[in-house]
């Protein structure tokens, strides 16, 4: 595209259009929620939602392709007490909005098929909550003042909490929802405190005012730390991750997909907004702290993912790993920025953004395919699945794309992100602090280890679900996913592939956002070659996934053609070899626990493992093994016990129920917000 239409584009009311889309989602939610037969309504409500999401993504990409000279802003005055809602669309928001839109399009397409069956009351509820969730996330990304941001943030938390509680008859779900609400709430309070501190002194709650007068460094640090706690809790960073592996599996699959793919990213967005945009200074230890937390989360997340037996829990832990890697990239960027190394910061930011985008695509793909499997078999326990590639080839092959991306293997999008992160870890011109310099290679080692373990986890995930024989009930009826579901999966899978194959174009798209934050960007090096990725210098490193894929494909096809010509003998089907025993059973394949056992054994000290081995003399032997999160046992439970004891004491004074407690605390928070505003 040449310059003139671009300039014209930049003047388009993109922000207003996006806000309209958010309104549209809310309306859709209301309509869907009021429909008498939600299954029927789902056929048109969700596709319209998907269309809106695609529109939002398109608008956001436009905003990235034609960066406006000044960010789009929009303010909306409410009649009461001069209450003004500010919205703003800059490159950073646009990037995350694009991520939201791209991911939500696929998820909504999938949801069309997914929610067209099922009972009416929950269908109505889900429809309303789902669209509210979408709108609130968009609002979080576009909000430009404390009140709007926090309102949108709380709305997002509550909508997702309600989605988690969909299956509230189950005790585990209630527990998960409660835990989620608790931690989300605590996080929101931390964010609130952070923003109030930032705003202190001025009556104007808008972010614009904050930008204008940045606080003193010591106060900045407190603001940052509070923000890190708040956003870290939402992102599932250790040790505030406890809610994530509980809450994500509890929600319906499309909701899990959105939570994992988009909602977690809003945390990264929020922290970036805080550190780069509002605080405007970066201290080196902020970056180091983020890096350390990110690496610990990445390693712990993937280790726990490797030993899970529930598909969704596995994916949830894997999300912790990916958020850890994203935060490592962000931390690295902050570290570089604090030392004035802008090009390196740009590289690290690009890596983090790439990872965020890749994760948004492949994780929603994987969660949706879990949903498809759940629909087809009624089962999401890996120990009972197997061999689904035969019954549902579409889902299986599309999932394979996501799994390869999640395993950070070329030529997928996940690999581009890992590659960029490693480049930024290795080729720094040397930080002024020698100690940090020595630690960065160790960080690189941890990143590599986490990615390799992700490969292990994904082989387990895909292999046990889709390959081999059905473990539990060989005659279990299962069916291929419907058209809508497939469409959603295809959308996301092709997104994964595209992002992986033309990383140059991708990075160019991200450039405005990177430039806005780091003051430098990679775009100049990439040039016009979308297929070739050269972050610094062609002599230093380059990567051309498209050529790589073509090379592999060409070798593959050539071999096949030659072999077809040369192979005289045909092909014969026979029973598997199996040492000539003659009886095979599905029990002879690795179970999920079995596949994770080496990891359990190697990293035994990291897990709290309890097992009881059967004696060889037992007539009916039984094997028991349980793994628990040590942080949960050592960190949360004592707190919970203390709180429990406290509340018991309180209850003696005044019998209040938990829900009332929550209501009170929510009211208290609203009061604080109101106080801050007025």
């Amino acid at each position: 595209m040449d310059a003139i239409p671009l300039a014209a584009l930049a003047r388009w009311p993109l922000l207003e259009a996006m806000l309209l889309a958010a309104l549209g989602w809310i309306c859709l939610g209301l309509i869907g929620g009021l429909q008498r037969s939600p299954g029927h309504a789902a056929r048109w409500v969700y596709p319209i939602g998907a269309l809106l999401a695609a529109g939002v993504a398109f608008l956001a990409l436009l905003a990235l392709v034609a960066p406006p000279l000044a960010p789009h802003t929009f303010s909306f005055t409410h009649g009461m007490a001069g209450f003004v809602m500010h919205f703003r669309l800059d490159a950073l928001s646009a990037l995350f909005v694009a991520l939201l839109g791209l991911s939500a399009t696929g998820v909504s397409l999938f949801a069309t098929g997914y929610f067209s069956t099922g009972d009416a009351p929950s269908g109505r509820r889900i429809c309303a909550q789902y669209h509210l969730f979408l709108a609130s996330m968009l609002a979080v990304l576009l909000a430009d003042d404390t009140v709007t941001f926090l309102l949108a943030w709380e709305l997002m938390s509550i909508a997702s909490f309600l989605l988690v509680m969909t299956d509230h008859q189950k005790r585990a779900t209630r527990r998960a929802g409660y835990l989620y609400l608790l931690i989300a709430h605590a996080g929101a309070l931390a964010i609130l405190a952070s923003l109030i501190l930032l705003q202190a002194g001025t009556p104007d709650p808008s972010f614009g005012a904050m930008r204008a007068n940045a606080p003193l460094p010591e106060r900045s640090s407190i603001v940052f730390l509070l923000g890190l706690i708040g956003f870290g809790a939402k992102a599932g960073l250790l040790p505030l991750h406890a809610w994530l592996p509980e809450a994500h599996p509890a929600a319906p699959s499309p909701a899990s997909a959105l939570m994992s793919a988009v909602m977690l990213k809003t945390a990264a967005y929020g922290l970036l907004r805080l550190t780069y945009d509002l605080l405007q200074v970066q201290l080196w230890w902020w970056g180091a702290l983020m890096l350390a937390l990110g690496l610990v989360s990445a390693l712990a997340g993937v280790l726990f993912a490797a030993i899970q037996t529930d598909m969704k829990r596995l994916l949830a832990w894997s999300s912790i790993e990916n958020m850890g890697l994203i935060f490592s990239g962000l931390g690295l960027a902050v570290l570089f920025s604090s030392h004035g190394m802008q090009p390196m910061a740009a590289l690290a930011l690009t890596a983090a953004f790439c990872h965020a985008l890749a994760h948004a695509l492949f994780k929603s793909l994987l969660f949706l395919s879990t949903g498809a499997v759940l629909h087809a078999t009624g089962e999401r326990n890996l120990g009972r699945l197997g061999g689904l590639i035969r019954a549902m080839p579409w889902v299986a092959w599309l999932t394979l794309v996501g799994a390869l991306a999640s395993a950070a293997l070329p030529p997928s999008a996940g690999f581009v992100a890992e590659w960029l992160l490693l480049q930024s870890l290795l080729f720094n011109p040397g930080l002024p602090d020698p100690f940090l310099n020595l630690l960065l290679p160790v960080a690189a080692a941890i990143v590599v280890l986490a990615s390799a373990l992700a490969g292990y986890t994904m082989v387990k995930f895909f292999g046990i679900t889709f390959l081999g024989q059905m473990r539990d009930n060989p005659t279990r009826p299962c069916h291929e996913a419907g058209h809508w579901e497939r469409a959603g999966l295809i959308w996301l899978a092709s997104g994964c592939l595209m992002a992986g194959l033309v990383p140059g174009t991708l990075i160019q798209l991200m450039d405005p956002a990177v430039h806005q934050l780091a003051g430098s960007s990679l775009g100049s090096q990439i040039g016009a070659k979308g297929w070739l990725l050269i972050p610094v210098d062609i002599e230093q490193s380059s990567y051309a996934p498209l050529v790589l894929l073509l090379g592999i494909a060409a070798a593959c096809v050539l071999t096949w053609l030659i072999l077809r010509r040369l192979m005289r003998r045909g092909l014969r089907r026979s029973a598997p070899w199996n040492c000539g025993y003659g009886f095979t059973s599905a029990r002879m394949q690795d179970s999920a626990e079995g596949f994770g056992q080496p990891i359990r054994q190697i990293f035994e000290s990291m897990f709290g493992i309890r097992r009881s081995l059967p004696s060889p003399f037992d007539r009916s032997p039984h094997y028991r093994v349980s793994v628990e999160d040590r942080i949960w046992r050592g960190g949360y439970l004592p707190i919970a016990r203390t709180v429990g004891r406290l509340s018991q004491t309180l209850e003696r004074l005044q019998p209040v129920r938990t829900s009332a407690c929550l209501l009170l605390s929510f009211m208290a928070m609203l009061t604080i917000v109101a106080w801050a505003v007025l």
């Binding site: 040492c579 000539g580 029990r587 002879m588 179970s591 079995g594 056992q597 081995l613 059967p614 060889p616």
Partner: protein, 536 residues
């Protein structure tokens, strides 16, 4: 001696009593209970008696409680089998080992119910023998827990019914899965199916499924002439042909009541030790190979080949098959060969010592061997282990040492013992026994008594029973035999060859517990049990 301290100590006083007059408690008890029991002729003191059901159970209880109460007690069950006597009535037979010899108990059964009291509660490994007895003759142990088929496979039993998997014990619990290995293995070994219940690499349970090499040896004996049946005995298990043939001949000679010429006994011992050396050489190489050290295999294979060629030169057969014949041995040893044998033994011992130093010093090999497949002394006693594997777990039993007949009494056989019970211990015992055998061979060859090497066997008229037990390289090989001679027609009424593998196969299933899957081949090889001798 307190073996639970784990220290290896020489066997001291008390345990194996060679004074025939001071019998151990169960022997006394049994002699009081069965005044009619009398020792049969032959090299080994064997008491043979026919019991009632109550006496059968009493004997088992007395022997098992003695074995349980006194750690050093030599009382044990050696073999259990079913047969029919001269009139075709079913019989259950058990042979026990006692301090002063063997005790052979026959239990005539009711031809209709065909039941006998269960022994598997008293002796753990008897369970499988009882299942085999049922498969072969339809005799059922009353009150046995496990009545699954053992030798007979589902497909053999009823070819028309759909083949079903053997009901292996299933380990319940989250994530337990199974690995099925065999019966056809990638290496050239005998067939057997092993079912592991595992979680990942951790072995939770192992069950072996044998019987693929069942050939009906016991039944075939009854169709053969007693003299010629020695050839069949030599083919029960090819790697212990001398031991099995000798055990058979010993049984026949004891039934016939003849004294073996001293030179023949010495020549048999020579062959038995040669067989032990050949097998230990092969196993030591194979053990290193299973641990991935092909160097060890190459050198021990070379030594074994040299040794077998030497045997070939001496006996015109590499494995010395059909050399032991009733009444003596087939070929006498030429005096001119004696120096050659001594020379071969010395050079072999030297090479073995050198390889042993390499094995002991090799960190990778020792890491694989040590602590792998451990069976404690207490467990070994509970399982009733025998032979080489038993000695590696601290059970100091060796027929050559405990009941030294000809020529062992003159040679003072050293008992090689270890209490560690792991693969390393079984390797060490092999090395020790190998060197000891080389010493014995040299001693036997140089001190061979003069005389004839074969005395023609004349079978006496009537019914005669005989038992023979020989310490083969794997453990004690036992043959129980009853012959009937009418005029010049002689036949075998019943005959049973027992291989020590019966005792040690169940131990393998215990040795693997707590180990990981890839260690199984090594543990299996360290036992190196016979499939053919067990499946009969």
């Amino acid at each position: 001696m307190e073996p639970s301290t784990g220290d290896s100590r020489p066997m001291q006083g008390g345990a194996p009593t060679h004074d025939r007059t001071s019998a151990s408690p169960p022997a006394l008890l049994i002699r009081q209970a069965f005044p009619s029991a009398r020792p049969m002729g032959g090299e080994l003191a064997t008491y043979h008696l026919t019991a009632t059901q109550a006496q059968w159970s009493m004997a088992a209880a007395a022997i098992s409680s003695d074995a349980g109460n006194r750690p050093e007690s030599p009382s044990r069950l050696i073999a259990l089998w079913g047969a029919s006597d001269a009139d075709g009535r079913p019989l259950a037979s058990a042979v026990y080992g006692l301090a002063d010899g063997l005790l052979w108990v026959d239990l005539p059964l009711d031809p209709q119910s065909r039941q006998y009291p269960d022994l598997s509660r008293a002796f753990f490994f008897a369970g499988r023998m009882q299942r085999a007895i049922f498969d072969l003759g339809g005799l059922r142990a009353i009150g046995a827990d496990d009545v699954r088929p053992w030798l007979v496979h589902a497909r053999d039993a009823d070819a028309r019914s759909p083949a079903t998997d053997y009901p292996f014990v299933r380990v319940s619990g989250a994530g337990v899965h199974e690995i099925a290995v065999g019966p056809v293995h990638a290496g050239i070994i005998e067939p057997g199916h092993f079912r592991f219940s595992v979680s990942g690499e951790k072995v939770l349970r192992l069950e072996a499924r044998l019987g693929y090499k069942h050939k009906g040896i016991d039944a075939r004996y009854t169709q053969l002439d007693p003299i010629l049946a020695g050839r069949l005995a030599g083919r029960v298990s090819g790697d212990s042909t001398v031991a099995h043939a000798w055990a058979y001949c010993m049984a026949l000679e004891s039934a016939a009541g003849i004294e073996l010429p001293p030179r023949a006994a010495w020549l048999r011992a020579l062959m038995l030790e040669r067989e032990r050396v050949a097998n230990h050489l092969g196993d030591l190489g194979a053990l290193a190979n299973d641990a991935g050290l092909a160097f060890g295999l190459a050198h021990f294979s070379r030594l074994r080949e040299l040794w077998l060629r030497e045997s070939d030169a001496l006996y015109a057969h590499r494995l010395m098959m059909d050399q032991v014949i009733p009444g003596g041995v087939l070929v006498d040893l030429d005096a001119s060969m004696v120096p050659r044998i001594g020379q071969a033994c010395r050079s072999m011992a030297e090479e073995v010592q050198r390889l042993r130093a390499i094995y002991d010093e090799h960190p990778g090999l020792q890491d694989r061997f040590r602590g792998t497949g451990t069976i404690s002394t207490a467990l070994a006693r509970q399982l009733g282990m025998t032979g080489l594997a038993g000695r590696a777990s601290g059970l100091g039993r060796d027929l050559r040492h405990d009941h030294p007949g000809q020529p062992w009494s003159a040679l003072s056989v050293h008992l090689c013992l270890s209490s560690q019970g792991d693969v390393a211990a079984r390797v060490a015992i092999r090395f020790d026994e190998l060197l000891e055998s080389l010493r014995l061979i040299e001693a036997i060859a140089s001190r061979l008594p003069p005389g004839t090497h074969h005395r023609a066997l004349r079978l006496p008229q009537g019914h005669h029973c005989g038992a023979g037990a020989v310490e083969g390289w794997r453990g004690e090989v036992l043959v129980g035999l009853e012959i009937e001679v009418k005029g010049d027609r002689s036949r075998i009424v019943r005959c049973h060859s027992h291989d020590p593998s019966w005792q040690n196969w169940p131990a393998l299933e215990h040795a693997i517990i707590g180990n990981i899957v890839p260690d199984f081949p090594l543990i299996n090889k360290s036992f190196n049990l016979s499939y053919a001798g067990h499946d009969l």
